[in-house]
Symmetry: C2
Subunit: 477 residues, 2 copies
């Protein structure tokens, strides 16, 4: 019910958590920092998995499964990798009633265990490229957690590919970034910026990290998928070489890329409102709910009519039907709005007599009358329209909250005196300026967006020296 949801304007964080728990997407578990993904939340993940998995297979990837536990010594083989992940590791020290000789890490990511296998599997250029993806749970012990957005355990997919040349590995990195962009924009109706991360924000062990970044309704950025150019770092750490066409031994080139259940949090914060979830039709588990409105004296006829409507939609759409007579129509409207179903169809006795029904859009509340025979076609075009308009609205919001700033005073004021947004600002490329900004404005570089190289004008927003990049700064999740 709407009353259970704190309005965004009052407390944005509480609004988010209310939606997650009231729509029964997830719940707190008795294990610190770990969540339970409830059936309605998991159904969203299943649809995301199905779509992404299809996109991975279309681009030539196969799924496999690697062990959950990783020998502690493996994690230590790549210097930056161990430094980045050490503070977050969960460690198995006892198993089968005995202390283990070597502790085992619950995987925070699987580069090390996978590259130890790639060493066995890769001998020749004929074994390349090796294009593998894994759907799995991972564990990163977090101090401050938030359902879906940051939890100690989360579900994700991690692609790990091996290539004969640097060029091929870079192409793969960008190909998968583009897969994430298409998924976010076409399916989640969530516009994203694509680009490269600064060195301080990259994955521990990568040469470069690319990311998609979306703006949430509180104007903060959320990183929704990353693709890493790993160079030869893991091939070196695990001594993975191959014989090329000319018979020479060379180190293998690598990529990895991942997206997680965090996408559910991003989806919620992109579109939802104070009445609850708003879901893009392409990803919604239920696209339409048919609600009969009846009294005792006309119940049978109205139910029969509502069922006829439901049946006319069954083939082409994901439709539910709610004839429950324990709850009033008003209660049901609110409940299905909370759950984010894109279209509600109301059918009462007068609708039945007139051979009509009322279609109600979840995103705008607009009521659209339709004759019985027109309902499937109307629903089809409405769903498309909702998908498009959610995207357009989110894009509009991002544009309205993205500013070009080149003066440091304005920059600080934007982040410290207003509720911020995305600042496109020239940056000299130094870690010092980045750190200074983080300290003073709590904003970080989200990406150096593609296609903006020629737009770099003037000096670095922080130090005034010649700018090397146009960077997008924001507060972030």
């Amino acid at each position: 019910m709407a009353e259970r949801i704190t309005p965004r304007s009052e407390n944005y964080s509480e609004w988010y958590i209310n939606i997650v728990t009231e729509a029964k997407l997830a719940d707190y578990s008795p294990v610190k920092g770990c969540m339970v993904i409830r059936p309605r939340g998991y159904a969203l993940w299943e649809r995301m998995q199905a779509v992404l998995d299809g996109m991975f297979k279309e681009t030539g990837h196969q799924n496999a499964y690697f062990p959950l536990l990783i020998p502690e010594s493996f994690i230590r083989k790549e210097a930056e990798h161990v430094e980045g992940f050490s503070p977050e590791l969960a460690v198995v020290t006892r198993a089968g009633g005995e202390e283990l000789e070597e502790a085992l890490i619950v995987r925070p990511t699987s580069e090390t265990i996978i590259w130890s296998m790639y060493k066995k599997w890769i001998q020749s250029y004929r074994d390349l490229p090796l294009l593998i993806n894994q759907w799995a749970n991972v564990l990163r012990w977090e101090k401050r957690t938030r359902l879906f957005l940051r939890t100690s355990e989360f579900l994700w997919q991690e692609g790990h590919t091996a290539h004969a040349t640097q060029e091929e590995a870079r192409e793969e990195t960008l190909r998968m970034l583009e897969v994430y962009r298409r998924f976010a924009e076409d399916w989640l109706a969530m516009p994203v910026l694509t680009g490269v991360k600064s060195q301080s924000e990259k994955f521990a062990g990568a040469v470069n990290t690319y990311a998609i970044e979306a703006m949430m309704q509180d104007k903060k950025a959320l990183q929704a998928g990353t693709s890493h150019d790993l160079g030869q770092n893991f091939a070196k750490a695990f001594d993975v070489t191959f014989q090329d066409r000319e018979g020479r031994q060379s180190l293998v080139w690598a990529t990895s890329w991942g997206a997680s259940t965090r996408l559910i949090g991003a989806l919620i914060m992109s579109h939802s409102d104070d009445r609850g979830l708003v879901l893009p039709p392409k990803i919604a588990q239920t696209q339409i709910v048919v609600i009969p409105i009846f009294k005792n004296q006309n119940k049978a006829e109205v139910l029969a009519y509502a069922e006829k409507i439901r049946d006319s939609l069954k083939g082409g759409f994901r439709v539910e039907y709610d004839p429950d007579d324990n709850n009033s129509p008003g209660w049901k409207f609110a409940e299905w709005e909370l759950l984010g179903v894109p279209i509600r169809i109301e059918a009462g006795p007068r609708d039945r007599e007139a051979g009509k029904a009322v279609l109600v859009r979840r995103d705008t509340g607009e009521k659209i009358p339709a004759a019985f025979g027109d309902i499937p076609a109307k629903v089809g075009s409405l769903l498309e329209d909702i998908q498009k308009s959610l995207y357009a609205k989110a894009l509009e919001f991002r544009k309205a909250n993205t500013v070009c700033i080149s003066s440091y005073d304005e920059f600080l004021s934007f982040f410290n005196d207003t509720d911020g947004g995305f600042a496109e600002s020239p940056w000299c490329g130094s870690g010092e300026c980045e750190a200074k900004i983080k300290e003073a404005a709590k904003a970080t570089i989200r990406v150096l967006p593609f296609g903006n190289e020629q737009r770099v004008r003037g000096g670095c927003v922080a130090c005034g020296k010649e700018a090397a990049h146009l960077a997008v700064f924001a507060k972030s999740y």
Copy 2:
């Protein structure tokens, strides 16, 4: 290649492991007892998942996800449960750089963490039944492991349901057992016995465990799926009660049921032969491979013809095409036989001229010529025929190796002097006789099969006292 596979008659265990590794289904990992499931093995699991998941949803279940880590105290709440699982637990004692106050168990199964959540979610009869399934990894630290059949980590699904009455819970237990039976027989072409386990073989924490049991080609039994009637054991341990229609508080009734990547081992050992994998067409990732047979002077025409054949099959079947000219046709035939593809289509220059091709069955080696236009229809009926005949052959094998034995001497001789099989024998129902048989014959009760109650004749095979059951004894995996 066939040479890489030890014949079954020579060393059955080696034959099995050769198939798993040579067909690249799985590999040993650097973590003791844990396997890597390679893409060809994982593709089998994906198809199994898709089919089972559909069957679970048809029977009203929803998927969810619960934490990997379980507080140690939870495992201790159900006395039999902790006793059964304690020796196999892997324990996280350190996380985020600190020693944990309470150790966390990597889930060996999820009853305890799930019932701790059900306590929050179940208040009234309106919340029941609660029908949830989880696809997940679990860890049971094993001393002796074998790829797919017994590994410390494995993938599985675990259903966990909550009901208002004992009757409903029992119905659910048997409903899911029947889902497993249908899946094993209709999809894996693997005939199974269904029945209840003896008390000594049941799940730790169950009132009764039901199972499907299949006979492998070495005549040993393999438990391929279990469904547990948990009574009120977990509801008691976690204090889960509900208010019934009359306003009384009652304890909830529970079931759980699971099947795992062990099914891949069962599938291999049911049908494969000394040349490699044999896969039932309904579960095979690739159903047909088209192999052009060409020389340099006719390569272009033959490839074009083979592609025409491939294209004519693309819509209705899962088809691959192997035009690689680095390997000879004979090498390719052996390779695709090793991988278990049900039908190979050979197309050479003479086939092209005659507008024909040769279809070769993987299971029997039979060669069937077909005119181009007839290929799709012929392939369709052949695949059905292969599916049926694999089932029939396995059933025939089980029947030929199942004997009714009522004398203890014959029983001991059957298991100690021959290579055994399934012994249907009367049993008094005592744990002592069961233990005595296990000691003397290394055979255990696999199930008390359904529908055999009236067939119990004479005295217990071990003690001669009045028999209560007809039990199926076998050596097992």
